[in-house]
């Protein structure tokens, strides 16, 4: 089917069928989840050889394993014998994986190492090299984030991320010690189309002042320019920006260098930490990112389903489970150089704000579910929606990559998200998918 008519980047018009039609969802599984770089795990979750995590790529279950040589491999979590689920644990450490059904065992590198009765039953005629675990076609790591890709012809992770790396590094590479994900995975069974939570976080500063009014009232302790805008009285370039035009990746950024901690009961220790280390960061990332971005509230989205929010310090991936369902996984995240007390404040605060019982998440859950349910009706599915807020008001900005709209409140990022969605769903292969990093610094410099 043709998805060209389902979204129009010039006007922001989109069809509601993209949230309900099963044929469209199947196409997404093939052309987006079957083709894009998908987040698998963070280095910190599987530090030791043999550490593994069970996760999903689209609806496919995969096993991500740290190798002896410190590299990481990923495999379909399915035994190659009769197709049983190979590993039933969420995470752990193992020398090998042994299937419950007939006892085939596979080493951490996916090789079929043990076949019970290989001699008696297989007459030593089985070519074990042909029955190793099915590897995910490509696995690459960027500053601690492990990604997998089912498509051998996909561009490299680095090209795929493009200039989004410049923003990602504000979290991943600011401090020498690097970063970690903290705590167990917070999983929610969430009846929404996967695109709704992504658009909600990738650019939708618009809902903060309204949907999260109560939560913000309860926990906000510091001003946040972009959000003040959400409460109607800000202006000017200092009030944050919406960055897109980066291969479908997006960033929302405040620019005050501390507002990330606006939702903590006591921001002081954080502010101290930031000031104490800003010089270091400046050396590593240069003044612009050190002053304007590090410590600011950032929403970073890596297409299609990964989002991280430095400041609020949560990290999230959405696993699609059908046109109207996702399993949402969230973690708290920390910089390893942070003092312990700050780390535990982050953990405490993350579960208060954005965990399964988080004050903010509990505001969004029902809205995103309802957006999905309301896309089903025969007549309603014929409707168009418009993602056109601040259409035509973006521009390049000196010193920052991407096509940029001013402020945290616009639909600029969402438009680029759906543009990428359409480019991928309508392309037969990567050859037909454009790569673009608008206003790249490298070009200029």
């Amino acid at each position: 089917m043709d998805t060209a008519t389902l979204f129009d980047f010039r006007t922001g018009r989109q069809s509601r069928r993209i949230y309900s039609a099963d044929e469209i969802y199947q196409l997404e599984l093939e052309r987006i989840y079957g083709r894009c770089w998908l987040f698998l795990a963070h280095d910190s979750q599987i530090p030791t050889a043999g550490d593994y995590i069970r996760t999903f790529m689209g609806e496919d279950e995969v096993l991500v394993v740290r190798q002896k040589d410190r590299s990481v491999r990923a495999f379909l979590n399915t035994c190659t014998h009769r197709g049983n689920r190979l590993c039933r644990a969420d995470r752990g450490n193992a020398r090998a994986f042994t299937c419950n059904y007939h006892g085939w065992s596979f080493t951490a590198d996916g090789e079929l190492a043990g076949v019970p009765l290989e001699k008696e039953a297989y007459f030593n005629e089985i070519d074990r090299s042909k029955h190793g675990l099915v590897p995910v076609a490509q696995v690459q790591i960027y500053n601690g984030l492990i990604f997998g890709n089912f498509d051998a012809d996909a561009p490299s992770l680095s090209d795929y991320l493009g200039d989004a790396k410049w923003y990602l590094d504000v979290w991943l590479d600011a401090m020498p010690g690097g970063t970690s994900l903290a705590g167990e995975t917070q999983k929610i069974d969430f009846p929404t189309n996967w695109k709704f939570p992504v658009e909600n976080v990738c650019g939708d500063g618009y809902h903060l002042g309204w949907a999260h009014h109560a939560a913000m009232q309860a926990v906000q302790t510091m001003d946040l320019a972009g959000l003040r805008a959400g409460n109607s009285d800000a202006s000017g370039l200092d009030m944050g920006m919406s960055v897109a035009g980066l291969n479908g990746h997006m960033v929302l950024a405040a620019l005050d260098g501390q507002s990330g901690y606006a939702f903590y009961p006591d921001p002081k220790p954080f502010v101290n930490y930031l000031e104490a280390n800003r010089a270091t960061v400046s050396e590593r990332l240069g003044p612009v990112r050190a002053q304007k971005l590090w410590g600011s509230q950032l929403n970073i989205t890596i297409f299609p389903n990964l989002q991280l929010l430095p400041g609020l310090n949560w990290f999230r991936v959405y696993h699609p489970k059908g046109p109207a369902k996702v399993e949402q996984w969230t973690w708290a995240m920390v910089e390893n150089d942070m003092p312990e007390d700050i780390k535990s404040m982050i953990l405490e605060n993350q579960c208060l704000t954005f965990g399964p019982a988080g004050l903010f998440d509990n505001d969004d859950g029902d809205n995103l579910t309802a957006c999905t349910e309301q896309s089903r009706g025969w007549r309603t599915a014929q409707m168009d929606l418009y993602t056109h807020m601040a259409l035509g008001h973006s521009a390049p900005r000196e010193g920052f990559p991407g096509d940029i709209a001013t402020g945290l409140v616009s639909e600029h990022n969402q438009r680029y998200f759906y543009r990428r969605w359409q480019e991928l769903t309508s392309a037969a292969s990567w050859k037909d998918v454009a790569s673009y990093n608008l206003n790249s610094l490298t070009e200029k410099g």
């Binding site: 910190s44 530090p47 030791t48 043999g50 550490d51 039933r88 644990a89 969420d90 995470r91 752990g92 450490n93 193992a94 970690s180 903290a182 705590g183 167990e184 995975t185 917070q186 999983k187 929610i188 069974d189 969430f190 009846p191 929404t192 949907a211 009014h213 109560a214 939560a215 009232q217 309860a218 926990v219 399993e327 708290a332 920390v334 780390k343 535990s344 953990l347 405490e348 579960c351 208060l352 965990g355 399964p356 019982a357 004050l359 998440d361 509990n362 505001d363 859950g365 029902d366 809205n367 995103l368 579910t369």
Partner: protein
């Protein structure tokens, strides 16, 4: 009535007093009398629901560097925060209110060293009837510490073991 009997009788009184407290709690929470509920907790109450994961029994992996994390990890102040939000009138998900019904059972009490403190075990199911025909059920075990203050039992500590590895609802605007 001999000493043993009077001792047993005292235990019956304590047991029922604590059952009364638990059932009253459930009724207050179902009725969204959150402030009244909070008043039935001590100043230093600790209210926790830990995160967990399905792990192999023999799993060899190292403990998580910064702990397992929580779904709830609240002090009285944090509970008050949640209540403040729930009562702010801006929690759209709870307006219209869902029908929520708690069923509490398996109540057991175990005395502690401190005379006026009692460990209380219980099981709770929370049924939520949402829009149209959607229903959700949470199930959890609870280990409480209750303290008797001026003849009144107050909740001092609650460790909730949620029996779901994946949360079966889109929000947890409920107290267990």
């Amino acid at each position: 009535m001999d000493t043993k009997d009077s001792h047993d009788l005292q235990r019956l009184f304590d047991l029922r007093a604590l059952e009364d407290a638990l059932y009253r709690e459930a009724r207050l929470l179902d009725g969204e009398q959150l402030t009244e509920w909070l008043e039935q907790t001590t100043e230093d109450v600790v209210y926790r629901m830990a995160l967990t994961s399905r792990r192999f029994r023999k799993d060899r992996s190292a403990p998580l560097p910064v702990g397992h994390g929580y779904i709830f990890n609240d002090t009285r102040g944090r509970l008050a925060l949640r209540i403040k939000r729930l009562q702010s009138g801006y929690v759209w998900a709870e307006d219209p209110p869902n029908f929520v019904r708690r069923l509490v059972g398996n109540v057991e009490i175990v005395p502690t060293e401190i005379p006026d403190e009692m460990t209380v075990y219980s099981v709770i199911t929370i049924h939520r009837s949402r829009i149209d025909s959607q229903t959700r059920t949470f199930i959890a075990g609870r280990e409480d510490l209750w303290r008797k203050v001026e003849g009144r039992w107050l909740l001092a500590k609650r460790d909730i073991t949620l029996d779901h590895s994946t949360i079966p609802d889109t929000n947890m605007n409920v107290f267990f």
